[in-house]
Every structure is written in C-alpha cells, then in structure tokens.
C-alpha cells in the first residue's frame, strides 16, 4: 500500500514537471500568440483587447498558476485555430487513437516476443542472424515512409497486378462514406484498419524483438537452468520454467518501454492514412501553431506514458517475487 502511494506520488510529481516544462516551452517561443490570430491590418487597440481576452497580459507566474488550475479542473482551453474547446476535439480524436494504439500494442508485444524468443532459442544460428537483420531493417524504416509504401502498394501496386478493386485494401481514412449499413460498418472499419495497424505493430514488434531476444538470452545464461537440465528436467520444460519465466519481468517492462514508440509511430501513421486521431490533431496544431492544442496533446501523450510506467511498476512484483519488498 505504501509502495502504491509512493509510486503514485512520483507519477503525479512527474506529471506536474511535464506540465511545467511544456508551459515553459510554449512561453519561451518567439512570437506573440495573439498576433497569429489577428489579420495583418488589425490596429494596436484590437491587439491589446485580444491579449486581455486571452489572459496574455498577466504576469507569466499568474498565467502559469491559472493554466495549472484550469488543467486540474479538466479545462484545456480553446483552440486558437478553430475556436473549439480543446477537450471536445480530444474527445472526438481519442477513441480513434486509443483503438489504433491498443490493438497495435497488443500485436507489437505478441509478435515481438514470439520472434525474440524464437531467436534467443537459436542464438548464434543463421536463422537468428537473418531475423536480427530483418528486425533491424524494420526498426530502421521510417514509419511514414512505410505507410506511404503501403499506400503505393494497395493503389498502384494492386492495379499493376490486376487485383480487382473490390479485393483491394482501402488506403485512406477510417471508414468508407458510402457504407451506412450498420452490419457492414464494423467490417468496413476493420478493413481500413489493416494497413495502419500492420505498419504500427510491425515497426514496434521489430524493436520489442531486439530487446526480448537479449532479455531471454541473458536469462538462459543462469546457473539454475544448467542445474535444472543436470537433474533431468526436459529441455522444453527448462526453457519454459527456467528461462522464459525468469525473463518475464523484463518482457513486461518492455510493454511500458514500447508505448512512446507506438505514440510516435501513430502520429505519422494517422498523418499518412488520414485517420482523425490525436496524432492528426497534433500535426494540424503544429502546422497552425495552435498552442493550446499542442500543449494538451503533448500532456495527454505524456500522461499515457507515465500511467503505463506506473502500471508496469505496480505489476512487476506479481511477476517477480524478489521485488515485493523493494
């Protein structure tokens, strides 16, 4: 219980630091947010009025306290570009990103750990080397470029091979505007999700495989495995009970570690495949210098990272009894 409180306290402090950092970042930027909103022919009086409306005329410390208070109450401000409350835009975008992110995270871990453990079992073999090269290549491919390559493959590529249009995967958007039938709609979304989820989980899995391999190779060096084999435990059981089981906590920590990568990847994937999620929201806000939206999305992503870290931290003692008293 004390452990839980302490960990949560640290997570909260970290969240506050992230808030402060993003606030400082936005306010250290050159240029006046009010100036960006006004047409070039606006006069000085309008500018003064707008600055007062936005609260930009107050001292920085006062702005900071007010902003923190607003965030604590769940008020993320209004978008400078659209005039919409930021919270509303996020409410629309979050389910899309969450769906994409969570399904990709699950696939990432499943594929990554499977490949990594297969490699570790054959460490040093030709298969291992080839899988290392394959996962490194995947890991090294820019997500946005892979997404573009997929788009090219299902459009020009499919056309070149004479695949009939009905069989081709859709390249863009979340759903087909023509599909209104309630029964067909989920299937339609699923069809649209194939490419984004594929790109995101394969690039993520490549990273996870690299780490899972080393974690399992590390665990397979333990004396306890040799002892188990020496006293007659079968190779398969020794592998499962004395190697994979020992590496399990490190692999669980991997889930937390792969979240920032999934977030970063989803920004590009949503951008290229035109998915109306948080990443697309962030990209649009960045293009329009829409500070409140940039701040809010950055905070939300950081929260996701901090919360998954906290959850893994709390879950680790369940997998690793040695950590219970730590």
């Amino acid at each position: 219980m004390a452990h839980l409180l302490r960990r949560s306290g640290i997570a909260l402090a970290l969240l506050w630091l992230v808030c402060t950092l993003t606030f400082a970042l936005v306010h250290s930027a050159p240029g006046d947010a009010a100036l960006l909103l006004l047409p070039p022919e606006a006069d000085a009086a309008t500018l003064v009025r707008l600055r007062a409306d936005l609260g930009l005329d107050a001292p920085l410390a006062q702005q900071y306290v007010r902003w923190l208070g607003n965030i604590a109450r769940g008020d993320l401000g209004t978008s400078l570009a659209t005039g919409r409350p930021v919270l509303e835009s996020i409410r629309d975008a979050l389910p899309v990103s969450l769906g994409l992110g969570v399904s990709s995270l699950i696939l990432t871990v499943l594929i990554g750990v499977t490949i990594g453990s297969a490699q570790a079992r054959r460490a040093g073999s030709t298969t291992d080397t080839w899988l290392t090269i394959a996962s490194t290549t995947m890991y090294s491919a820019p997500t946005f470029w892979l997404s573009l390559a997929c788009v090219a493959a299902v459009t020009v590529g499919a056309a070149a091979f004479g695949i009939p249009p009905a069989w081709r995967l859709p390249a863009f958007a979340l759903r087909d505007p023509g599909v209104l039938d309630a029964a067909a709609a989920p299937l339609d979304v699923l069809r649209h999700a194939v490419l984004p989820v594929l790109v995101l989980s394969l690039t993520g899995a490549a990273g996870v495989a690299r780490f899972a391999r080393s974690a399992i190779v590390e665990a397979s060096r333990g004396d306890y495995r040799r002892t188990a084999v020496a006293k007659g435990v079968t190779a398969g059981r020794a592998w499962r009970r004395h190697v994979v089981r020992v590496a399990l906590p490190s692999i669980a920590a991997l889930v937390a570690l792969s979240v920032p990568g999934i977030v970063a990847g989803s920004v590009f994937v949503e951008g290229v495949f035109a998915w109306p999620g948080m990443g697309k929201l962030l990209l649009a806000a960045v293009a329009q210098r829409d500070h409140p939206v940039i701040l809010a999305v950055t905070l939300l992503y950081a929260t996701a990272v901090i919360v998954t870290n906290l959850l893994t931290d709390l879950a680790l003692p369940l997998l690793d009894p040695r950590r219970t008293r730590a």
Binding site: L14, L17, L25, S140, A141, W145, L148, A149, S214, T298
Partner: protein, 279 residues
C-alpha cells in the same frame, strides 16, 4: 588481438562507407546539377532506369525534371551530417550531465535526474514536434532540439558508471595524493566511464537520422529547396500514385543507412559488454 568481423558487419560498414563517399564526392561528378530546374515538361516523371536528352536516370526524375539519384546523394550530405552531429551533440551533453550528476550526488544529481525523467515521459517525437513548431524551422533549430531531447539515455549510463567509479581505490588514491575535484573527475573517472556513452552515441546516429527525416517530411526540419531525405519523401508524396519512385528512393536510402548504423552499433555494444545479447 585480431577482431573477428561478422559478415553482416562487413557488409554494413562497406555499405555505409560507399554511401558516405558517394554523398561527399558523387554530386561533384554529376554531369547535370540536380538542383537546377531545366525543361520541366520534357524531363519530369521519367521512370527509373530511363534516359532523356540530358542523361540516364537510375532512380528516374521528379516533378521538376530533376534527377532523383543526384538529389539523393546531395540530400545524403545534409541527412548524414545532421544525424551524426545531432547524435554527437546529445552524446556530449548526456556525458557531461551524467558525469556531473554521478559526481556531485547531491541536489544537482536530483535536478538532473528529475529533468531526465521529465523529458523521457514525453515521447521524443512529440517533444521534437512541439519544439520545432514553436521555433523557426531550420538546421540550427533541428540540431539544438535533437541535442536537448536525446541526452537522457547517455546521461543515465554515464551517471551509473561514475557512481560506481567514485568508490574505487584509484579514485581514493588520487584524492589522497591531493588531486583537485576537476582533476579526479576529468583524469580518473570520466575516461573510465565513457565507453558505454560512445556506444550509445553510435546507436543514436541512426535514431537521429530517422528523426531528421521525420521532421523534414513534416516540413519542420531541413527546408526545401535544400534536399534532405525527409523532404524528398514529402515532395514525392503527392505523386505517389503516378510516380512512386520519387518518394520510395530516398526512403530506401534512409533504411539502408540506419540499418547499417544500427547493426554496427549493436555489434559494438555486444563487444563492449562482452555479451552476445543486444542489451
């Protein structure tokens, strides 16, 4: 001692060397300057391996009739430079801050560790996007932001090494012999703590190249008309269906470079830690 070079490391080093030489001297050997726009209508959208009046195009030509292969080599100069410089800057910053944190072990350590934890809570790409959006895009901003968002990993490694070394006898001996703080840190602790930082920096090069290409793809990094791999991909995006080679060729260059750099970095790490894993 003879170093055993596995085949994949030989191939990676060879590819990287070839790429660097190609990017440095290649553009000087081209018969047509790949930045100059000539007869657009006659020369644009040539498919790969085709020829026009002006010469032969390995990777075809882009929407303005410029040779994609020539621009690829030219762009490689900037992309490689930004990648290496960005990784080096964050490596140096991380080594300094990590050594400082490990050595001081007081409030300074707590401040640096808190800063590092805070920055690591925000996905690096998101942090880069926010910074690049707020400041004027360009190469100086890009390098600053790469350094400011990439130092934490190296700092953590160096801090751990330094904390362990402070306890060692040879450091105590130096202290007894009257060495100053700076001399102990710079002469005895730092040189012994630097190996993992070097390896991490090597691994950071691939990452920096990827991030540069991502930011340039979004128009927040290297600004056209200066070609970089990222903004070439962005330029080919709208012609993806009619002329996919414009976007696909520079992406291949990124994949080859980063794969080779990462394989070499992993191998160095294996050797440094004396293990066969990829920790």
């Amino acid at each position: 001692m003879r170093v055993h070079w596995p085949m994949r490391i030989r191939i990676s080093s060879g590819a990287l060397l070839l790429l660097i030489i190609g990017c440095v001297i290649g553009p000087m050997l081209l018969e047509r300057d790949p930045t100059i726009i000539g007869d657009v209508l006659a020369q644009r959208f040539r498919a790969p391996l085709s020829a026009d009046g002006g010469g032969w195009h390995l990777f075809g030509t882009d929407a303005f009739g410029r040779d994609v292969f020539g621009r690829l080599l030219l762009a490689g100069r900037l992309s490689l430079l930004v990648g290496v410089a960005g990784a080096l800057l964050s490596g140096v910053l991380g080594a300094l801050l990590g050594a400082l944190a490990g050595w001081s072990a007081g409030w300074l350590d707590r401040v640096i560790t808190a800063a590092s934890d805070t920055l690591q809570a925000i996905p690096r790409l998101v942090l880069l996007l926010a910074c690049a959006a707020l400041w004027k895009p360009g190469i100086p901003t890009l390098l600053t932001v790469l350094a400011l968002t990439g130092w934490m990993g190296v700092a953590r490694l160096v801090r751990a090494e330094v904390t362990g070394l402070v306890e060692r006898d040879f450091v105590a001996a130096a202290r007894v012999l009257g060495a100053t703080q700076l001399r102990m840190l710079a002469g005895h602790v730092f040189p012994n703590a630097i190996a993992p930082a070097l390896v991490a920096t090597t691994l950071g090069i691939g990452n920096a190249i990827l991030l540069e290409s991502g930011l340039s793809f979004l128009g927040l990094g290297v600004q056209p008309p200066s070609p970089s791999w990222g903004n070439m991909i962005a330029g080919g995006r709208e012609h993806l269906v009619t002329a996919p080679w414009i976007a696909l060729a520079p992406g291949l260059a990124v994949v080859v470079t980063v794969t080779a750099a990462t394989l070499i970095g992993d191998w160095l790490q294996e050797r440094a830690s004396g293990r066969t894993g990829l920790t």
